[in-house]
């Protein structure tokens, strides 16, 4: 699993990345009440807005950790946003992206680096 400074995670399977927000991000959000996901076929650029997650008090943008094409989104989370809080780094995933430029993944943090980053916040 790889991580961004904006608290997204990514896990590769072949050339497809499953993407979500980290447990830290879910804790910061509080109870998620609404999730907006991109349509399959959409093209994303690394760092651009990919999804929106909303708590009672605020809407937060989720950024694409890598560039590529959306090949799937988690309809279960759209229907049951609380599922994101229950398992943010598992069944609470948000989007599947066919990665356009695998070199972008190399720039992301591994688990140890991300945890060190969290301690620095």
């Amino acid at each position: 699993m790889r991580f961004t400074k904006d608290h997204e995670w990514l896990e590769m399977e072949g050339d497809v990345a499953t993407v979500g927000v980290t447990a830290y991000a879910a804790e910061q959000l509080g109870d998620v009440v609404f999730v907006e996901l991109p349509e399959p076929g959409a093209t994303l650029k690394a760092g651009a807005e990919m999804a929106v997650v909303e708590s009672v008090k605020a809407a937060s943008d989720v950024y694409a950790p890598v560039s590529g094409e959306v090949v799937g989104s988690n309809g279960g989370i759209a229907n049951n946003p609380q599922g994101l809080n229950d398992a943010p780094e598992g069944s609470g995933w948000l989007v599947k992206i066919r990665v356009a430029n695998p070199a972008e993944i190399e720039g992301l943090m591994d688990r140890d680096a991300y945890e060190a980053y969290l301690r620095s916040l």
Binding site: G30, D31, V33, V52, E54, S60
Partner: protein, 399 residues
């Protein structure tokens, strides 16, 4: 992910309330609000804090607000004359009938500018004690207190002085179990009617307890000296019916209750009638022309309005938040959302905003624009969630 909380850390300039240490010790998420470092939520989280308050009793630190006492410099000691004299100083700035307030009663009223726009909304109370009739209890909004106090002090001139009480703690206990909880510490408070207040001994300290709040629930607001605040706060939290509630849930609770937030839903450009706050305007004083902006207000009272505050149920999609545009079904922009979010009680997005009166009838279908997408919304009567204030049949009814 973008930051869900505006995490301005504690800067040198932020004020703290007497309960600040208790919030931090309880693990609250803190944020800057109206110049104070305040709890947004506790570990329970906004959603559960909100639902807890609707079902049991929520405890809120609202010490950032602006309580004060306006006191005649030279009271005569004759109760009716003293109340008339102190009311006459402040009433010309306000929409309400302050002279006609009964002893021990509290009134929601509006501070107006010369154009009839709302400088702030506030509470004014007339003490029940005969020897305190030259005095009024005033509570204004946190964000406006410096300017409000300056306006009131200027109006009082040499005749009265405004004694700020915002060095004390103001604690709200709200919810269907609030009365039973507080009666455990101060037997008798359960008999106070909605919008009444009295001095009460609480854990050995003198407190000013009012039956009022900002959640739509029954409950109390308690003004108590800072040295006694932590003891009261922690004692109330030992009661299993009570949870600490942050400003996040305070905002979603007041939104469901249809209560406006000054600076968002109403401001200096909004009149009482546009703000759907006609109930706070004394018809007698308006008719006599003795109100700031009375030309505009009299016209608007006659039904000539360009916009009015309404409730909206967003029927599909994301919550529409402050700033979202409101349009007709045909797509013509007609207004803007001033407060909005997700209603925990209704499990649906709700909002308040302004539309032309012709589109303000409950059931009218409109659209709200969220991130460029038009979503269907329906005008609905306020409040979204029924208010449950305590009105004993023997208490005088207030307008």
């Amino acid at each position: 992910m973008s930051d869900p909380v505006s995490t301005q850390g504690i800067s040198e300039s932020l004020l703290i309330t007497p309960l600040h240490g208790a919030h931090v010790a309880r693990g609250a998420r803190m944020t800057a609000f109206a110049g104070y470092d305040m709890p947004v939520s506790y570990p329970l989280g906004v959603l559960k804090e909100h639902l807890w308050t609707r079902a049991h009793a929520g405890l809120f630190d609202v010490s950032h607000m602006g309580p004060a006492f306006l006191r005649l410099t030279s009271p005569t000691g004759e109760p009716a004359a003293d109340h008339a004299a102190v009311s006459a100083l402040i009433e010309p700035l306000l929409t309400g009938d302050i002279a006609g307030l009964a002893p021990g009663r509290l009134r929601y009223t509006l501070l107006l500018n010369a154009e009839g726009g709302i400088i702030d909304d506030l509470m004014i109370g007339r003490p029940v004690e005969p020897e305190r009739q030259g005095e009024l209890y005033v509570v204004v909004n946190a964000a406006n207190k410096a300017s409000d106090f300056a306006v009131v002090a200027a109006a009082a001139g040499q005749a009265a002085q405004l004694d700020r009480a915002d060095d004390r703690a103001l604690i709200a206990l709200q919810g269907p179990e609030a009365a039973a909880v507080l009666a455990g510490l101060a037997p008798g408070v359960e008999g106070l009617g909605f919008m009444s207040f009295a001095e009460v001994a609480l854990m050995g300290a003198k407190a000013l307890v009012s039956r009022s709040g900002y959640t739509g629930e029954d409950g109390f607001e308690i003004l108590i000296e800072a040295s006694a605040a932590v003891g009261l706060w922690e004692t109330l939290l030992t009661d299993r019916r009570v949870e600490a509630i942050g400003l996040g849930a305070r905002d979603s609770l007041r939104l469901e209750a249809g209560l406006p937030l000054h600076g968002h839903d109403i401001d200096e450009t909004t009149s009482p009638f546009e703000g759907a706050l006609a109930f706070a305007v004394s018809k007698k004083r308006l008719k006599a022309g003795r109100m700031r902006g009375s030309d505009r207000l009299a016209t608007e009272a006659g039904g000539s309005l360009s916009r009015v505050r309404v409730g909206l149920k967003v029927l599909e999609g994301a919550p529409a938040r402050e700033g979202a545009l409101i349009a007709t079904i045909e797509g013509r922009t007609v207004g803007v959302v001033t407060s909005g979010g997700f209603s925990p009680s209704l499990s649906a997005p709700i909002a308040m905003g302004f539309v032309p009166p012709g589109l303000a009838t409950p059931g009218t279908r409109l659209q709200v624009a969220v991130r460029g997408r038009a979503q269907v919304a329906e005008v609905t009567s306020l409040p979204f969630v029924s208010q449950r204030y305590y009105r004993p049949s023997s208490a005088p009814t207030e307008v």
